[in-house]
């Protein structure tokens, strides 16, 4: 149980080819959080850095875009329906408005050709791994992608591919 939730609140830095190869963990009960695994390590949230290579907007519903980090393309979904969603009707209206404003701000940041750091929950749609976005930051330093690759490789070799005894 402790190992299952070790990374629950961590946006793990993963290369696209690695993220896309994760397998969804079968859940034993509806209350279990959705998780994905690779070599015995469970992941819930991820961080990717790459170039935005596609953008599809459904106003007031969602923004779907792809992040290409050089090893693969990750589909990212940013929900924009907070003001009409029954899920958010349970929350206080000022909080919902704030969440909706933030989502709208992130959507405006996502433009073709920019490099962005995207974080969110790892989810699956029609059998394909994707990220349900929680935040987006445009990165202007041209060296951030290189740094992200190095960080991902370092974390994989020192943390995620190491069997815990």
């Amino acid at each position: 149980m402790e190992q299952l939730h070790r990374l629950y609140n961590t946006h793990v830095k993963l290369l696209a080819f690695d993220l896309l190869s994760l397998t969804q963990t079968p859940s034993h009960s509806p209350s279990d959080p959705i998780s994905f695994s690779r070599r015995g390590t469970f992941f819930f949230r991820a961080e990717t850095v790459g170039t935005i290579t596609s953008r599809e907007l459904k106003p007031n519903k969602f923004l779907k875009f792809t992040v290409d980090d050089g090893t693969g393309c990750i589909v990212c979904v940013l929900w924009l329906n907070q003001l009409v969603s029954p899920y958010f009707s349970r929350c206080s209206p000022p909080s919902v408005r704030l969440i909706a404003q933030m989502a709208s701000h992130f959507a405006a940041e996502v433009r073709l050709g920019v490099v962005a750091r995207v974080r969110g929950r790892i989810t699956s749609y029609r059998g394909a791994v994707q990220i349900t976005v929680s935040d987006v930051v445009v990165e202007r330093d041209p060296n951030v992608e290189t740094l992200h690759w190095l960080e991902c490789m370092s974390l994989a070799s020192k943390c995620f591919d190491v069997r815990l005894s």
Binding site: T51, T53, S54, G72, C73, P142
Partner: protein, 123 residues
């Protein structure tokens, strides 16, 4: 496994794009980085260089990108190999990357290739 119709641009150096290279394929999706040597407004063709290697880039589909000779650019697009075996990259996105540490970039690219190869061989 690709999860979208948009293909990832494989990271290559301009030196990788010789005729006997596995990356030198019609329609291959590539990401290239190089210094702008020439740009023609009439044809939208840019020529980028990296050391002794050079590549033509068709930039007609790019928006909001200004071209300055001697600046460094990165493009993602598909390789078009013409009948005379000259290659041109049909860019779909591009950006100015002035300030990039090219030595670190190229070294990291090699590490990344090795990392991917190691992981594919153990899965």
């Amino acid at each position: 496994m690709e999860s979208s119709a948009i293909k990832s641009g494989a990271l290559v150096s301009l030196q990788d794009l010789h005729q006997s290279s596995p990356f030198f394929k019609q329609g291959a999706s590539l990401r290239v980085t190089g210094k702008l040597q020439e740009y023609s407004v009439e044809t939208s063709i840019a020529i980028v260089v990296d050391g002794n290697a050079k590549l033509k880039i068709n930039t007609q589909h790019l928006r909001d990108l200004s071209f300055r000779v001697n600046s460094i650019y990165q493009f993602i697009g598909e390789l078009l190999i013409q009948p005379d075996d000259e290659a041109i990259l049909q860019a779909r996105v591009g950006r100015n990357v002035d300030g990039i540490d090219l030595n670190l970039y190229h070294q990291s690219l090699q590490l990344l290739r090795q990392f991917q190869a190691d992981h594919l061989s153990t899965t």
